[in-house]
C-alpha cells in the first residue's frame, strides 16, 4: 500500500474546480455551463462504459490472458455510478442546448417529424432506460466478480459467459442511444448512421487507456505481481488496433459526406473546418491517429511501461479533444477555451482520479476466485 500523498492536491483541485463550475453558471451563462457539463458527462460515461465493455469482452470471447488484470476495468467501470447522477443533472441541458426540445422545433420541416422522439419526456425516458440497463450489466459483471473473491465459486464464470453475449447487445443499444441523443442530438438536422460506432471506438479507447494507466500505476506499487510485458503487449495491441478503428470510422463518415456534398450533411464538417476549428480538427487527427499509430507500431512500445503510459495519456487527452470537437462548435464560431473549461476539467479530472483511487481498493487486486487466473498468469505471447 502506498501513501496517498497526492490527495490534498487533488482535493484542492476539485474544490477550486467546483467554485469555477458554479461561477461558470453565474458569470458565463447557462449555455456554456451546460455544454461543459454534457461534455464531461459523455466523457465519464464513455470511460466507464468502455471499461465495462472490456470486462464483458473477456467473458464473451473466453479470453484467458486478461483474467489477471480484469479487476482493473471492473473497478474503472464503477465510474458509471457517479456518471448516472451527472447524467441526471445533465438533463437540465435539454431546453438550453438541444434544438429538438424547443417549441420552434414544431414548425421546423425536419424536426417536426421527429418531435416526439426529441421531446424532453421521451429523451429523459430513453436516458433512464439506458442507465437502468447499464446498472444491470454493472451488477452482474462487476458485482458478481467482486463477490467471487470471497465465495471462490466458479459458477460466476458460467453465468458471466452466458450473460456477456446479451450484454453486448445491451451495450450496443446504450452507447448508440447515448451517442445519438446526447452528442448528435445537439445538431438534430444532421444525422449519421455510423455515429454510435464512432462514439464506441472512442469509448473503448478511453476505457483501454484508463485500464493501461491503472495497471501501470498498480504495478508501480507492486500490487500486480505476475502481470508482465506479455499482458501489457495485449493492452497496447488493443490500443493500437482501436486508434486505427477510430480513424477508419471517423474518416468513413467524413468521406461519404464530403463526396455527396449535401448541404445538410457537410455543414457539420464545414463548421469544424472553418477558422480556428480547422487547427483543432488537424490536431485531433494527429493526436488520435497519426502520433499513436507510429508510437505504438513497434513491439517494444506495447511492452515498455514508460512508452505505454505516455501513449495511454495521449489517448485520454485525444478522447477529451474528440468530445470537445463534437460538442463545442454548437456554441458558435470560435472554439471556447477559458477559465470555465479549465475549472470543469479540474473538477471532473480530479473527481475521476479521487473515485478511481478509492475504486482501486475495491476487492482483491486480481480476481483470486476465478479458476482461470493461473492460466492467465502463465500467458505468453
Amino acid at each position: 500500500m502506498s501513501q496517498p500523498k497526492a490527495s490534498p492536491l487533488i482535493y484542492g483541485a476539485v474544490a477550486l474546480g467546483a467554485v469555477g463550475v458554479i461561477a461558470t453558471y453565474l458569470a458565463a451563462g447557462p449555455q456554456r455551463f451546460w455544454a461543459n457539463w454534457v461534455m464531461w458527462f459523455v466523457l465519464v460515461f464513455t470511460m466507464g462504459l468502455g471499461a465495462l465493455f472490456i470486462a464483458a469482452l473477456e467473458h464473451l470471447v473466453n479470453a484467458k490472458w486478461s483474467v489477471p488484470i480484469r479487476r482493473i476495468p471492473e473497478r474503472i467501470a464503477t465510474l458509471l455510478l457517479p456518471a448516472i447522477p451527472i447524467g441526471l443533472i445533465a438533463l437540465g441541458a435539454l431546453p438550453v442546448l438541444y434544438p429538438g426540445t424547443r417549441p420552434e422545433a414544431a414548425h421546423h420541416p425536419i424536426l417536426a417529424g421527429k418531435a416526439f422522439w426529441l421531446s424532453i419526456p421521451f429523451f429523459s425516458v430513453r436516458t433512464l432506460i439506458a442507465f437502468a440497463l447499464v446498472l444491470v450489466g454493472l451488477t452482474v459483471l462487476v458485482g458478481g466478480s467482486l463477490k467471487q473473491d470471497t465465495t471462490r465459486d466458479p459458477a460466476f464464470n458460467i453465468r458471466a459467459r452466458k450473460f456477456a453475449p446479451g450484454f453486448m447487445a445491451i451495450f450496443a443499444l446504450v452507447i448508440t442511444v447515448v451517442a445519438f441523443d446526447w452528442v448528435s442530438g445537439l445538431t438534430p438536422e444532421w444525422y449519421s448512421d455510423i455515429f454510435g460506432v464512432y462514439i464506441f471506438a472512442g469509448a473503448f479507447l478511453s476505457g483501454l487507456a484508463a485500464t493501461a494507466l491503472s495497471v501501470l500505476y498498480l504495478q508501480g506499487q507492486d500490487r500486480l505481481s505476475g502481470v508482465r510485458g506479455d499482458h501489457l503487449y495485449n493492452l497496447g495491441g488493443f490500443l493500437f488496433a482501436f486508434t486505427v478503428f477510430w480513424s477508419y470510422i471517423g474518416f468513413a463518415q467524413y468521406m461519404l459526406m464530403w463526396y455527396a456534398n449535401m448541404p445538410d450533411e457537410v455543414i457539420y464538417y464545414k463548421v469544424r473546418l472553418a477558422g480556428m476549428w480547422r487547427y483543432i480538427t488537424i490536431a485531433l487527427g494527429s493526436m488520435h491517429f497519426i502520433l499513436p499509430f507510429f508510437v505504438l507500431v513497434t513491439r517494444d512500445a506495447k511492452q515498455d511501461p514508460r512508452r505505454l503510459r505516455r501513449v495511454a495519456f495521449l489517448m485520454l487527452a485525444a478522447h477529451v479533444l474528440d468530445i470537445y470537437w463534437l460538442i463545442f462548435p454548437i456554441l458558435g464560431g470560435k472554439p471556447l477555451l477559458g477559465w470555465p473549461e479549465l475549472s470543469f476539467a479540474l473538477f471532473f479530472v480530479g473527481g475521476i482520479l479521487l473515485w478511481l483511487r478509492a475504486a482501486m481498493e475495491k476487492g482483491e487486486d486480481m480476481p483470486v476466485g476465478d479458476p482461470f487466473l493461473r492460466e492467465g498468469l502463465e500467458f505468453r505471447l
Partner: protein, 381 residues
C-alpha cells in the same frame, strides 16, 4: 576428426525442459551456431537461443509507407497533373478521394512484403532440401523429440567435439549430419540461370513463330476472326467508287418520325388538321413534351410566365391570350417546326406525333382557363 565435412551435429532430447536447460550450456561452448528443431513452438526458446528480432516488421513498415506514398503520388499525378478533371465540384487534387486507394495499396504492399519476404528472403524458400530433413532423427523431431543442432560455421568445425558438448548437456542421442555437396539453398547463380533460361525460351519461341509466319505465309497459327468480310469504319475500301468504307446516306434520307412537314409559309399551313385523337395517352405524351420543351418559356398553364424566362424579363407568347385562342392548329404546328420570333425550331426535339400531342395539350390548357358550363357535366365512363 573425420575427413568428411559435417553440416551440423544434432543432439536429441526427450522433453522440452531438457532442451531448454541444455541451450545455455551448448551456447556457452561456442562451437558453432546453435539451432533448435521442435515439433511445436516452445515459449521463450527464441530468447534462450539469442535469436535476433526478425527484420520482417521493419520491412513491412517501410513497404507499407512506400505503398501509401506510391498510391498518393500516382493518384496526384493522374488527377491533378496529367489529366485534371473536376468531378462533383471537387478540386482535382482532393486528398480525401485518394485515401481509399492509398489504404488498399498500403495493405497490398505490406501483405506482399510480409508473405513473400518471410518465405523467400528470410526462410530462403524454395530450397532443394535441408540436411535435417534427410536425417535419421527427422521422424522424432516432427513427433515427440526435441533437437538441438550445432551448425558448422567454417572449416575448423569439429564434429566430434560438438557431439561431446551435446552429450555433456544431456542429449540422449547424437547424430552427425554430413554436409551436402552443394548448397541446399537457391544461389543467385541458380536464380539467374533459371530466369535467363525462361527469357531465352520466350525469345526463341516468339522470334521463331514470327519468322515462320513471315517466310511461310501458309503457316497461320490462330486465324480465328483474323479476316472478316466486312468494311470497318473509317477504313478505305475498293468496293465503292470513292474508295471509302463508310458511305453518306442517300440525299433526301429521312429518319423515321421526322418527315419534313409544314415547309411552306405559316398561313399556308393553317389548314393542317391535327391527326391525333383526344385520348388520355395522347394528352400524357403532350403534357410530358410540353413540360420538357415549352414550359420553361410559356409557363405551366401556358400564360407566358415560364419557370426560366420570367426571372429574366423576357416576354414569350401568352398562349391564353385571345390571339392564340383563335389560332388554328396548323399555324401553331408550323411555329413548333420552324420557330417564331425568339422561339427556335423544335423540329429536332419533337417527333411529328409529339408536336401534335403538344397542340392537343395546349388546347386543354386553354380550355381549363376558359371552362364552359357543359364541362361540368359528368361524363359516363
Amino acid at each position: 576428426m573425420s575427413a568428411e565435412k559435417a553440416y551440423s551435429v544434432l543432439g536429441l532430447f526427450d522433453t522440452p525442459d531438457a532442451l531448454m536447460q541444455a541451450i545455455p550450456k551448448v551456447r556457452a561452448a561456442k562451437a558453432g551456431t546453435v539451432e533448435a528443431y521442435t515439433p511445436y513452438p516452445i515459449h521463450g526458446i527464441d530468447d534462450a537461443l539469442g535469436l535476433r528480432r526478425s527484420p520482417l516488421g521493419g520491412m513491412v513498415l517501410v513497404m507499407g509507407v512506400l505503398g501509401a506514398l506510391t498510391a498518393f503520388g500516382f493518384e496526384y499525378w493522374i488527377s491533378a497533373i496529367d489529366y485534371p478533371i473536376i468531378t462533383g465540384g471537387k478540386s482535382p487534387s482532393s486528398w480525401e478521394a485518394f485515401i481509399p486507394i492509398m489504404f488498399e495499396v498500403t495493405v497490398l504492399f505490406a501483405t506482399f512484403t510480409a508473405g513473400l519476404g518471410m518465405l523467400l528472403l528470410l526462410n530462403r524458400l524454395p530450397f532443394f532440401g535441408h540436411p535435417v530433413l534427410s536425417s535419421k532423427s527427422i521422424k522424432g523431431i516432427t513427433r515427440d523429440r526435441f533437437a538441438l543442432a550445432i551448425e558448422a560455421e567454417d572449416e575448423s568445425f569439429d564434429a566430434a567435439a560438438a557431439a561431446r558438448i551435446l552429450q555433456d548437456a544431456g542429449a540422449v542421442e547424437v547424430e552427425v549430419l554430413p554436409a551436402p555437396d552443394r548448397s541446399p539453398f537457391l544461389t543467385s547463380t541458380y536464380i539467374l540461370r533459371t530466369l535467363g533460361g525462361i527469357f531465352v525460351a520466350c525469345a526463341v519461341a516468339g522470334f521463331g513463330i514470327y519468322t515462320l509466319t513471315k517466310w511461310f505465309p501458309v503457316l497461320r497459327p490462330m486465324v480465328n476472326m483474323q479476316d472478316q468480310p466486312r468494311l470497318n469504319a473509317q477504313k478505305a475500301s475498293t468496293f465503292f467508287k470513292d474508295g471509302r468504307g463508310m458511305q453518306a446516306p442517300v440525299k433526301g434520307t429521312v429518319a423515321r418520325g421526322y418527315l419534313p412537314t409544314a415547309t411552306g409559309t405559316q398561313d399556308a399551313s393553317a389548314t393542317l388538321v391535327n391527326p391525333l385523337p383526344r385520348t388520355k395517352e395522347v394528352f400524357a405524351v403532350g403534357r410530358k413534351a410540353y413540360l420538357n420543351r415549352c414550359e420553361v418559356c410559356h409557363g405551366a398553364v401556358g400564360n407566358g410566365v415560364g419557370s426560366l424566362t420570367s426571372a429574366y424579363g423576357a416576354k414569350p407568347a401568352n398562349l391564353q391570350s385571345q390571339q392564340f385562342l383563335d389560332y388554328p392548329d396548323g399555324k401553331m404546328y408550323w411555329a413548333i417546326v420552324n420557330g417564331k420570333n425568339a422561339m427556335p425550331s423544335h423540329a429536332a426535339d419533337l417527333t411529328e406525333s409529339q408536336r401534335w400531342a403538344v397542340i392537343h395539350y395546349v388546347r386543354a390548357l386553354q380550355r381549363a382557363q376558359n371552362a364552359k358550363d357543359e364541362d361540368l357535366k359528368v361524363v359516363a365512363p
